[in-house]
Symmetry: C2
């Protein structure tokens, strides 16, 4: 319960690794995969995902790789989570209201309050705080 996914985990590992380098320098998927013992294919998809989202920039061809393409202080963990995993809610009904019990449910509103607190927590936390 309340766990983050490997995808997010690998993304953060990769970002932190890239931030140890000069900003122009490139890092390949293989380098991170072997360095941290992470499955290369899954990491590759994660990096491609981040590249599509503009968080990192890809350079193709041999000697290619990725580099950070954003100021990570400007992106919140909430936005980061949502870019990688979609809407951030402790219950699906926070976004998606096709639950049959939507009308009779007695905890929808209170749960949404908790959810707002959690979203607020991650809104106030930048990716930089985690990867620096």
């Amino acid at each position: 319960m309340l766990k983050i996914t490997r995808k997010v985990e690998y993304a953060l590992i990769a970002l932190r690794h890239m931030q140890l380098k000069q900003s122009e320098e490139l890092t390949s998927t293989k380098e991170i995969a072997t360095r941290y013992g992470v499955p290369q294919q899954l990491l590759a998809k994660t990096l491609q995902h981040m590249a599509r989202d503009g968080i990192i920039e890809a350079v193709q061809g041999p000697a290619g790789g990725y580099r950070v393409a954003t100021n990570l202080e400007q992106i919140s963990m909430k936005d980061f989570f949502e870019k990688l995993e979609g809407p951030l809610g402790m219950m699906d009904c926070y976004f998606d209201s096709d639950c049959i019990q939507f009308g009779s449910c007695n905890i929808r509103v209170p749960i949404q309050r908790i959810n707002d607190n959690m979203r607020n927590l991650f809104s106030q936390m930048s990716v930089q705080e985690v990867t620096q």
Copy 2:
């Protein structure tokens, strides 16, 4: 990602329902299950779990049921989550360190900081705030 389980959801629904009644009055599993359209067997286990933990009190036999047995202002959502679902961590390594990468992982400490924030959030929130 970062979802609560049905077990927790049903537990909160049940507690909130019981709090609408006089404190001595009993509520059966069936009553809650039919009222909120929730699977009765799973709800039953959840209520039994809460009874073992002393959150609610069970009365057996026909016309039996459950009633709230604790001041819900005194129990935090963090403790509530951990009673029902075990240790509350966004990554397993927060509690359980048999991860092979434990030594080389570059985000363990930062993730633990996030986790502390989340645990802190739920420590400061009482069950009463959700179920009242």
